[in-house]
């Protein structure tokens, strides 16, 4: 039988974390290992005395890095908590103060002392020059930080926070800590960069100069031939794309749910394709179709007897490409909404003598409003954040996402301008996010009650059906043509110039040499980035799903102060475009205390936080369908929250887990905007490799690689579908996917 533990004086979890803390301090290297997080050469290379690999205690023992010494205090203090009962007020007091002091000291020393000694002038003024420096934190610091964090959580749990539940308190603190470190900190770093002058001073006027730049806000295009500001360009494009994708998404949703169309399944499958298509590919296909020498352009030019033009570069091309790419997302959001409108309401309206058209206009459409708003929001944000298409098709129509990129990588190298542009972009997306939340407020349009609804959705009214069918048919054939172009493009020598069928692009990318000795060599030029991508995606996906579901669990199942802020924090990265994330990660994680650039870890982390909101939403949606008494039953039966989460909730969340897994896997393989900043020599991603090929006019190879990725992702999704019985890639939460 369970023994009541409040008087218990052994705390296995606490002992564990205290040991972790001591190990971090005494045994493992304090600073980051230059060769990589997972290399262990240091074990045989001068450890533990070599100062590169030495644990904190050894450094202090050698009289170096003495600022680490105070960390010993909280570590020793924590020992006094052992042997005390949880209900002993001293237990909580010791752990809280040890945790807070240790964690804060760790942060302070990390931020105060960098590669060149003191990081801040006033510290140098205060203490005189420091003739020492330190690198990014490594295992030791990480162990110790976690130990302090969890000491703190056990302390406040013992005080009775969240019903004294250690798991929940720890989970909340962990999520808050990592969201702070990997979302808020980089964004703050970025915003600060907007205020830094070239001399490294802070200045408001430099920010104002950059912010009120005509290149951002100019509206001359209304009156003259001069280009308008990028902000307006982006906004205009995003609004258009939002509207068009919403209308098209609704069109498809209506065809699938309210018509006798026979090939609904195929239509659904077709809409999944753009989601798993790497960036640029659609853009390239469009060039081959609509470019100055594109098939369609040339055909019409000859027909009309005019010169083919570059009409597609700029707004038209961007519109077509983004609409192609983002309509499926609107569709996936809207299909649930259209299906969710209770048939009995429509039937009620019909019995009240409304015609089919009137029913649609006065009942069905208004009930779909939240879905329409969501679809629009997604289209808007995706378009704002899109990087690949503007890069290939933008022409002279500059948009924020690419301008951010070129502000950083361009010859001028203007971090401040990039930061300002990123702020503008962030303001737009967050603004849209909030406008939508504000508009929908707490209004509930949900008409699905869970009770059996015997009604049947009425067919579309005729005057709606014809235009809907026409648009859908045109769109479907267009999509098919685009994808056939893609497939064909990967099998010809040079599209449009030399149409000889060849598989040389695939050979270049993916050849394998079997040498006489039997050694296989992956000689194809794409293997490196391909394996890296698979590896990173496969590592990121389960972590993303796990973090998303734990967060969803906290949001749906636990009550705690600051829950709204917590939710906002976890959803924030949804509204942050990838380019902004990329830039801010570079700014934040290239220097100590957290040094991650050039590693695979930074890619994994960026994917986790980019895609987590979808896991959260999927988790919330499924979890709110689980009766809360299930958890409570488990708790009263003596299982703790962690056991409850693992044994009761997780098994009932398989669809949500699958959705989160598939989504984050696919996104990790197709993302480009953040990735382009974060790839490194060792960790090059497929999309970054492809962009290089596109830059090099090597469309064949780029398309061949992309086609391979599409096939790989389709098989991965198919495999998961087979394992679980039903694909959930289409299931999206109300907020849907994040931007590219």
């Amino acid at each position: 039988m369970p023994t009541i533990t409040s008087e218990n004086t052994t705390h296995p979890t606490l002992i564990f974390w205290i040991i972790v803390g001591w190990v971090g301090f005494l045994l493992v290297p304090w600073y980051g290992i230059e060769d990589g997080f997972f290399t262990f050469e240091w074990l045989s290379d001068g450890y533990p005395t070599d100062s590169d690999y030495a644990p904190g205690a050894f450094l202090i023992g050698q009289g170096k890095k003495l600022w680490l010494a105070p960390l010993l205090l909280p570590l020793i203090a924590s020992l006094f908590a052992l042997g005390r009962a949880k209900s002993d007020p001293l237990f909580a007091k010791i752990l809280i103060s040890a945790g807070v002091f240790g964690f804060c000291w760790l942060l302070m020393q990390g931020f105060s002392i960098g590669l060149r000694g003191w990081q801040f002038g006033w510290l140098e003024a205060l203490f005189g020059p420091l003739n020492d420096r330190q690198f990014g934190m490594g295992y030791g610091a990480m162990f110790l930080a976690s130990a302090f964090l969890f000491m703190f959580t056990q302390g406040i749990a013992a005080r009775g926070a969240i019903n004294g539940d250690v798991f929940v308190v720890s989970a909340i603190s962990l999520v808050v800590t990592i969201v702070t470190v990997f979302v808020f900190f980089p964004i703050a770093r970025l915003l600060i960069a907007a205020f830094i002058t070239e001399e490294g001073k802070y200045s408001i006027s430099i920010f104002a100069d950059k912010f009120f730049d005509d290149r951002i806000w100019g509206i001359q295009c209304l009156t003259s031939g001069i280009k308008c500001g990028v902000a307006w360009n982006s906004l205009f494009l995003a609004l258009l794309v939002g509207v068009i994708t919403t209308v098209l998404g609704l069109t498809f949703a209506l065809v699938v749910t309210r018509s006798r169309f026979k090939y609904k399944r195929n239509l659904r499958a077709l809409t999944v394709l753009p989601i798993i298509t790497p960036p640029f590919v659609i853009g390239l296909a469009l060039i081959l179709l609509f470019g100055q020498s594109g098939t369609v352009t040339v055909f019409f030019a000859e027909l009309l007897g005019i010169q083919p033009t570059r009409w597609m570069y700029g707004l038209p091309g961007l519109l077509i490409a983004q609409t192609l790419a983002f309509t499926p997302i609107a569709f996936l959001v809207l299909i649930g909404v259209v299906e969710g409108v209770s048939p009995s309401m429509e039937e009620a309206a019909q019995t009240l003598r409304a015609s089919k058209w009137e029913v649609f206009r006065t009942v069905s459409l208004p009930l779909m409003r939240p879905g329409l708003a969501n679809a629009f929001l997604l289209g808007f944000i995706e378009s704002m954040a899109d990087f690949g298409n503007p890069l290939v098709l933008g022409g002279n129509y500059d948009v924020l996402s690419t301008d951010i990129f070129f502000a950083i990588v361009g010859a001028q190298y203007d971090q401040g301008r990039a930061a300002v542009l990123a702020m503008v972009l962030l303001t737009f997306t967050l603004g849209a996010f909030y406008a939508q939340r504000f508009w929908l407020g707490n209004k509930s349009y949900t008409s699905v009650s869970g009770k059996g609804d015997a009604g049947v959705h009425p067919m579309m009214p005729r005057r709606l059906a014809y235009p809907v069918y026409t648009i859908a048919a045109i769109w479907v054939s267009f999509t098919i043509v685009v994808y056939l172009m893609i497939l064909a493009g990967s099998f010809v020598e040079i599209w449009g110039i030399n149409n000889t069928i060849t598989i040389k692009h695939y050979l270049t990318a993916f050849s394998i040499n079997f040498e006489e000795t039997g050694v296989r060599r992956w000689t194809g030029s794409a293997w490196g980035s391909f394996f890296t991508t698979l590896k990173i995606a496969a590592i990121a996906a389960p972590l993303t799903a796990a973090l998303g579901l734990v967060t969803a669990y906290l949001l749906t199942r636990q009550d705690f102060r600051g829950k709204n802020a917590f939710e906002f924090g976890t959803m924030l990265s949804f509204a942050i475009p990838g380019t902004v994330i990329g830039v801010s990660y570079i700014l934040a994680f290239n220097v100590p205390p957290i040094e991650l650039t050039g590693t695979g870890i930074i890619l994994v982390i960026s994917f986790i936080f980019r895609n987590m909101p979808v896991g959260v939403r999927a988790g919330i949606a499924s979890m709110s369908q689980l009766d809360k008494s299930l958890d409570e039953a488990s708790l009263t039966l003596g299982a703790n929250s962690w056991q409850t989460f693992r044994r009761v909730i997780l098994p009932l969340l398989r669809p949500a887990i699958l959705a989160a897994l598939v989504y984050s896997f696919v996104r990790a393989m197709t993302a480009i905007s953040a990735v382009i900043f974060l790839v490194s020599a060792e960790y090059n991603m497929a999309t970054a490799y492809i962009i290089g090929r596109v830059e090099n006019n090597d469309y064949g190879l780029a398309i061949a690689y992309s086609t391979t990725l599409i096939v790989v992702m389709l098989s991965a999704v198919g495999l998961l579908q087979f394992l679980v019985g039903r694909t959930k890639i289409g299931r999206r939460s109300s907020f849907g996917p994040t931007a590219v």
Binding site: M1, G160, D627, S629, L637, G638
Partner: protein, 360 residues
Amino acid sequence: MAELTKNKKAASVTFENVTKIYGGDVRAVDNISLSIEPGKLVTLLGPSGCGKTTTLRMIAGLEMATEGKILIGDQDVSMLPATDRDVSMVFQSYALFPHMTVLENVSYGLKYSGFDKDETRSRALAGLDLVGLNGFDGRLPSELSGGQQQRVAVARALVLEPQVLLFDEPLSNLDAKLRRQVRQDIRDIQQNLGLTVVYVTHDQEEALAVSDRIIVMRNAAIAQEGTPRELYEAPVDRFVADFIGEANLIHCQIDSVSGETAEISIGKMKHTLRSRGMQPGPATVAVRPGRVALSSPATSNSVPAKILKSTFVGNHMEYVVDTGFGVIFAMSEAVETPFDTGQDVGLSFAKSGPVLLLAE
């Protein structure tokens, strides 16, 4: 196979000035003190929103008291989460884990209590045996009827032999007939095993039937506490009188008080009853419909009255009667000799009929 034997751990439950506040200003439970003896079945009874479920959940550790102290046995558990309390609970919705078989459900708590595999299994089977679900161990909850699911939920809580066993409206999802049987089963098991049980319901009949003691709650506070009979026969106030069975509430005048007895007059009618510490002056008495006697007019110590409505409901008659002091609801077993609507009758109260309600 292990036998579930008399529970030696059954513990008392004590609340000392416990308050629960939600969201800063909603007082769900307001300064409650109560004490539940070991081995007794105590019911928390009250209308919805009265705080009874919150009280139960505070015993379970699913809610933490904002103020005050909760003791189970001699131990202060105020800060202890549900996991660490030796308490188990049967939920209104049963909360059976849909992805586990009946046996896995029943074994669930045992596994986290440190029993080895064999012991867990034999105890779980014994639990199922006790609730009469032999041979159902391999089924999934969705393959059971409502009553069976309910019994699985009971078995799952029982096998842990907790210090306190909690029931949150366990019968509300069952039909009337089954409800009567199951509540008797629960009572039998509780008495056989000597369990401390806290039982929440809003059904007064159920409460009267199963409880050793009943705690009636209203507006986050305790309205009255006592044995079923005490509550029925001596409600302290209008609320309790009305909530536990039906009662006619009649204004009266306390004419004189001498020690434990008081003389009252209701209209022209005089009555002697327990004074309950009241002083002479206006007061209210509660009279159960069954304690109202109807007779032919002008019987001694009766007042003239008129039948407004007469209804035959099978095993008894129900009358709505107009008297000089208001409209009275009465019940009579005399089905063979009913009064008719409009008939003049004499109305009197049984000796122990009227009960003085304490001043409100």
